[in-house]
């Protein structure tokens, strides 16, 4: 009985080892043929989960939504609808900002998210000032952005805390040319 179990385990391990190799061979079409070097794919923009969701078939989408309680499902549908109603250019810009945020290292993401929270907590007029500053910086090349952040005008226009918020949130801006 014990010997049979050992044999069975050995057979299973052997088969598990052989399967991937055999599959790989099958795909290559022969043992001696060197696999063609895969062409370097053109850099693709990252898709957001929203894009992935919208790319799914209606049935798949339905299935994914069915996993949510009814009120949440309704909320998601509503939020997606709202997003889709935005002008395409704004949708695209928001997706780009989303990707930039989510491609940052986790610790940096935390910092940027923290800066956004602080931004929302600032009085409306200060939010507007910071918003305008960031919009202005978006049009600048990287070097000029850095120069702007170090400029006396920037220093005098914002408090220390606000400067930090703007600096951290500038990670969301498109790369300057």
């Amino acid at each position: 009985m014990r010997a049979r179990s050992i044999l069975a385990v050995a057979a299973m391990l052997l088969s598990l080892t052989l399967v991937p190799a055999a599959q790989a061979q099958g795909r290559r079409g022969g043992m001696n043929r060197r696999p063609p070097r895969p062409e370097k794919p053109a850099p693709k923009p990252s898709r957001t989960p929203i894009d992935e969701f919208q790319k799914m078939s209606p049935e798949e989408r339905q299935k994914a939504l069915d996993r949510l309680p009814p009120h949440q499902r309704q909320q998601v549908e509503e939020r997606l609808k709202n997003f889709n109603q935005l002008p395409p250019a704004q949708q695209q810009t928001l997706k780009n900002m989303y990707n930039r945020l989510n491609q940052l290292p986790p610790a940096r993401q935390e910092v940027v998210r923290g800066a956004m929270n602080k931004f929302f907590q600032a009085p409306a007029d200060r939010q507007q000032a910071m918003r305008e500053e960031l919009r202005g910086m978006a049009a600048l090349p990287d070097q000029e952005r850095q120069a702007r952040l170090a400029s006396p005008e920037f220093q005098s226009k914002f408090s220390g805390k606000e400067r930090e918020i703007v600096r951290d949130m500038s990670d969301l801006l498109p790369p300057g040319q």
Partner: protein
Amino acid sequence: MKECPLENGNSAELIVAYGARTLAPEVEAAFERHMSTCANCRELAAAQREVWSAMDAWTPAGISSNFDEKLYRRIATEEQGTWWRRVLRANWSWRPAMPVAAACAVLVAAFLLRSPAPPSGASQSQSQPKLQIEQVQHALDDIEMLKKLGVEVPSDKAGSSEQI
């Protein structure tokens, strides 16, 4: 109130209850009669009422509109994990299943060796993890927050070249 509560050790609870206006009416009336002749109690009680009303000024902040949604999402994520944990924690006895598993593995291996390789596209899509609806919700959270920032610029250069 025959004796001063400051002298008989009852002052603390009395003063707090007086400040909170939770004294029984007859006790409150008795204490007020006493205060009319006792400056120390009067001063202490006035200070406590002042503290009480100053604390009233601290009204709580509003609650995020998506508080419940976030909570339900966390619950849903946990529930999802629970199924797997139950399976993994179960007190399985693997030994009797070994020969059966081995036999299945051999059969699967034989089947795979005989069948043609699937098209590369199909294999890619199979190996990709399925999109979780929670990821969509997180993305919507982020995107809505970014929209609220109002810093997006229409001439987002990176965006114009990116195809979705």
